[in-house]
């Protein structure tokens, strides 16, 4: 592996620098998407008529190809990192809204009634009861959003070397050095898997009442069989 981590100098970054840049370009949009998706999801839960049209819009937005999105944005934000980040933020938003709505809706009615009876106001009820119960569903959405975001940053290469680790791919072709492409693919995949694992860890830490198995991790909360148990436990927590 002679020189495997030697990065051509035209990329203006070391290997670690590229990784940092890649993570910045991939994770900031996901974070932005989450911050917008939380209130939006709450609105969709509160006003039921709002959800179908929002779902329609999200499906359409997700159908817009990333490369097409990037190049149309060049006219407004130039060939820059922000041009790559805006579409990624939108894609994350689109993935997260349904996850949040499904998660919050999976909270049983009696749990909400109990919280109200204990004198929880709407805000406290949302933060202490609904959100914690929705965490597994939200994290499931976050995992998909993060992994696809990390993968899509590479496409930024096409709009003037804005693709962080993806820029290695262009250089692999210019300099006829396949090792650079291998490096890019392997590093990106490892980053994605590490971030995915980190999110699973976050879920385990945030939901101590859940069974430790992988069983309920990837389930969208469509099946109610696994739900009442954590909800009941969460209730006990709340009672304390």
């Amino acid at each position: 592996m002679n020189g495997f981590f030697d990065i051509p100098s035209d990329l203006q970054h070391s290997y670690l620098g590229l990784i940092g840049l890649h993570l910045k370009e991939a994770l900031l949009p996901v974070l932005a998407g989450l911050l917008i998706a939380l209130p939006l999801g709450q609105l969709c839960v509160r006003f039921r008529w709002l959800y179908p049209p929002v779902l329609g819009v999200t499906t359409v937005v997700y159908a817009i190809p990333s490369l097409a999105f990037f190049v149309v944005l060049i006219d407004y934000t130039g060939q820059s990192e922000i041009t790559v980040m805006i579409p990624l933020a939108l894609y994350s938003l689109v993935l997260l809204v349904p996850a949040i709505v499904d998660g919050v809706r999976s909270v049983p009615q009696e749990t909400l009634a109990a919280a109200t009876a204990m004198g929880f106001g709407p805000v406290r009820r949302y933060v202490q009861v609904q959100l914690p119960i929705a965490v597994p569903a939200i994290i499931a959405g976050l995992r998909v959003a993060t992994v696809s975001s990390i993968s899509l940053v590479s496409v930024g290469t096409l709009i003037g070397n804005q693709g962080a680790l993806g820029n290695l791919l262009a250089d692999a072709m210019f300099y006829h050095r396949p090792a650079l492409a291998v490096n890019s693919v392997v590093t990106t995949a490892v980053l994605a898997i590490l971030m995915d694992a980190a999110l699973v860890l976050v879920r385990v830490l945030l939901t101590p009442w859940m069974p430790r198995g992988t069983r309920s991790a990837r389930r969208a909360p469509r099946d109610d069989s696994a739900r009442p148990e954590p909800a009941a436990l969460a209730l006990k927590d709340a009672v304390r």
Binding site: T59, V60, Y62, A63, I64, P65, S66, L67, A68, F69, V71, V72, I74, D75, R143, V144, V147, S148, I150, S151, L152, S154, V155, T157, L158, I159, G160, G163, L165, G166, L169, A170, A172, M173, H176, P178, A181, V182, S184, V185, T188, A189, A192, I193, D196, T214, R218, A220, R222, D223
Partner: protein, 222 residues
């Protein structure tokens, strides 16, 4: 609206409508790549998803496989395959299929698992054999979800087939890649518009298939 002006300029230029680099030809190439990739991915994902979903075994292995496949960057894979295998359809098909199999596989599995077990038990009680149960009871009920998996795979393929142009193949991505290199922004926006429209048409197609193929009883309860 600057972008609208570019779109208008691109589509009103008659030079873009015929010849080797004409819209019809590029569109056909794009459709060809997309259908081929979707066909291969469905041929892999559907049977495996149906069987594992029917027996209820291997869900964890599937989820693990899907996560691993999702972690592979399609664009990176495309360039890597091109560098290793040279020019041809194969380096384009590999990343597209890797991209499309996980959503088909996982959604099909989940769809089969979400079928209400009581009609399946009833069918078994009536003496139907397993294959008949699978295709006459489970699949019709699971069809909306299975189709949604195929839909998201198809849209991702249509979007991603664009980058085939980067490794010197055809398709609608040609306009975007060439336009960027030629500093011809009109061409870039035109190509982007065409791909976006094609993705939306794919959405519409799946919506139509959904209306036609899903039985009305299932749609009512859904």
């Amino acid at each position: 609206m600057n972008v609208l002006h570019f779109i208008n300029a691109f589509f009103s230029d008659s030079a873009h409508w015929h010849g080797y680099d004409g819209i019809p030809r590029r569109l056909l190439e794009h459709i060809q790549y997309s259908l081929m990739a979707l066909g291969i991915a469905a041929a892999i994902g559907l049977p495996v998803g149906l069987l594992t979903g029917h027996t209820g075994r291997g869900g964890n292995a599937l989820a693990f496989l899907a996560t691993a496949a999702r972690a592979l960057p399609s664009f990176g894979l495309l360039v890597l395959m091109f560098v290793l295998l040279g020019l041809g359809l194969l380096p384009v098909m590999i990343p597209l299929v890797v991209l499309a199999v996980p959503p088909i596989l996982v959604t099909t599995y989940e769809a089969m698992r979400s079928v209400d077990p009581s009609p399946v038990d009833a069918a078994r009680g009536l003496g139907m054999h397993e294959a008949k149960i699978l295709f006459q009871v489970e699949v019709p009920v699971a069809l909306p979800l299975i189709l949604s998996g195929l839909r998201s795979a198809a849209i991702q393929i249509v979007s991603t087939a664009t980058i085939a142009a980067y490794v010197s193949l055809g398709g609608l991505g040609r306009y975007i890649v060439d336009g960027l290199y030629q500093r011809n922004y009109e061409k870039v926006v035109g190509g982007a518009t065409l791909v976006a429209v094609m993705a939306l048409v794919t959405l519409g197609l799946f919506w139509t298939v959904n209306r036609v193929a899903v039985s009305p009883g299932v749609r009512r309860s859904g």
